[in-house]
């Protein structure tokens, strides 16, 4: 009867030994390989540091001009360029320029790494149902597991600093680009694929002449989502000692400074909007061919 009223759980000792066992072997693993892993990420750290310093050291008018130029190049919209310049000027005037540069650096590097890792994985997933079946649940875990949980092993291995922060951001931000690359390729019209086959396209030719170009709008939606999620993670990354707008928000939370919190929070929003609109408009321009329709 007790089986009915009480859950048949492990005994306390068993449970403690179970947890201790795993924690212990993880610690042994860190002792053995921690330094190797840290060294492996050294080049990444140097690159990120260099990129941050570059953004901060560049005189602000030049930086502003470069940002405006990039926004124009992506969106071809004067309105967006004007909006970008105004919001960057406000951010600077309110004393957040340097922090904004730190955040910009982290987001940019994280996005590039997500693209470099994510697109090839997405392509492989689209080619193999088995690989898709393995990767999909992993992506689900990455997106739903509370960020604090995977911060634990990251901190244990790498301590706190820029690289652990970057890795935390990447874990959270990479799934959309993987998913949408996979989806985009799988959605390509089978009639067109058949035509490519009929003309004797090799799998590689098919990928580059048909599948990737036609999947591009979806892939771009993935890049856009990845950027948004990376920006959303900067506050969590600040827990790992990443400086920037996120860290200021964290300070504001700890000391209940409403103005500081909102200022930095809205600065993140402004940067997010600039990224979002620019990448969306760029994505739309890529599919110019589908806009003009025979009447």
């Amino acid at each position: 009867m007790s089986l009915f009223t009480e859950f048949p759980e492990m005994t306390r000792t068993e449970l403690r030994d179970f947890k201790k066992g795993i924690d212990g072997s993880f610690k042994d693993f860190i002792h053995a390989y921690g330094e190797g892993i840290e060294n492996f990420f050294k080049p990444l750290l140097h690159f990120l540091k260099w990129f941050e310093d570059l953004l901060v050291a560049t005189p602000w008018p030049i930086m502003l001009a470069i940002i405006a130029l990039l926004v124009w190049g992506g969106s071809r919209s004067w309105g967006l360029v004007a909006g970008t310049i105004i919001s960057m000027l406000v951010i600077g005037y309110l004393g957040m320029w340097e922090d904004a540069m730190f955040t910009l650096a982290l987001t940019t590097v994280a996005t590039i790494i997500c693209i470099v890792i994510g697109i090839p994985i997405g392509i492989l997933m689209s080619k193999s149902d088995r690989f898709q079946a393995v990767i999909t649940p992993i992506l689900d875990i990455m997106q739903t597991i509370p960020a604090f949980v995977y911060l634990i092993p990251i901190v244990m291995i790498l301590g706190i600093g820029l690289v652990p922060g970057l890795i935390a951001v990447i874990i959270y931000a990479v799934p959309p680009i993987v998913r949408l690359t996979n989806l985009g390729i799988r959605l390509v019209d089978t009639d067109i694929l058949e035509a490519a086959d009929a003309f004797g396209a090799s799998p590689r030719q098919k990928l580059w002449t048909v599948q990737m170009p036609l999947a591009l709008p979806n892939i771009f939606a993935g890049v856009n989502q990845t950027i948004m999620m990376a920006l959303a993670m900067v506050v969590v990354a600040s827990l790992l000692g990443v400086h920037g707008l996120g860290l200021e928000v964290l300070k504001a939370v700890n000391s209940q400074y409403i103005t500081l919190g909102f200022m930095n929070g809205l600065a993140i929003v402004a940067i997010a909007i600039v990224f979002d609109r620019t990448s969306q408009k760029f994505g739309k321009r890529l599919q110019k061919h589908s806009e003009v329709i025979h009447g």
Partner: protein, 343 residues
Amino acid sequence: MASHGIEIKDLFKIFGPHGNKFIDAVKGGMTKTELNEKHGHVLGLKDINISMPAGQIQVVMGLSGSGKSTLIRHINRLIEPTAGSVQYEDVDVCQMSTSELQQFRRHKTAMVFQKFALLPHRTVIGNTVYGLELQGVNKDEARSRALKWIDRVGLSGFEDHYPNQLSGGMQQRVGLARALSNDADILLMDEAFSALDPLIRTDMQSVLLDIQEELRKTIVFITHDLDEALRLGDRIAILRDGEVIQQGTGEEIVLNPADSYIADFIKEVNRGRVISVETIMNKTPIEGAANIVLKSSDMLETAAQAMAQAQETSANVCDDSKKIIGSIHLKDTINAMVTAARH
């Protein structure tokens, strides 16, 4: 001119996960219904034997579900056969390795599709060079060859348009230019004109016949439209439920339908455009009387028109070398044009 025909021999296709298991049963006489109901497999093609002549247009005709699109996809092996062979230049396409097949598709065949299947992100010129690009032809060469064919199909000035800026007829011209640029001997056309308006369809048929006059490719043309089949086909094979039920020239089929199914099919055909003078002529020329001379290869419609215009009731018939070989009467001509063969 293409020098080799395509020989399709004993071709079977069973759709389903274990098609191979049932091939002997099907060869032993299992019907399509039995295969489907008892084993859940679909008999796509059954014992197809067609000898497609080099440099001519072979039409494969049938209603939807007859297996005609499946058949054409066996020629470049977009669909794997369950049994049988497709011979071209003494090589069995069905036995080719992946790389051989790739080369075969690049250099020997080109295909035009019912739904055009153009690359939407490429312009007309970008689509037309596609086959050449896959072959590895250099850019300038590919471009100049493509421009020639774009001009030939009547799309000059539209080189930089995207497919969805063009009408259906124009899109299929791009499809045709893309296929012709490949310079392949075999042209596979899968219901290429079926999606087009009747007027544009006739127009495209003329374009095709015109080009064929010059190039003499081996063309396999799939259609469900008998008029189209009779107009284009040097030879016609009629498919039903995955089986060939009759093959021959258009005239042979119209004059001697193999069964009531085909007889039904050809009931509405304009016989005057299919039956030639040779079929109904008397072997005895009319001495001196006839004022007009018709060619033995003329169609009855032309003959009747010529006699009516000249207000004659008979005419002499000559062969290709202008030698008089017989005669026809207006009465017989009209009779042959309106009576369907009994069945």
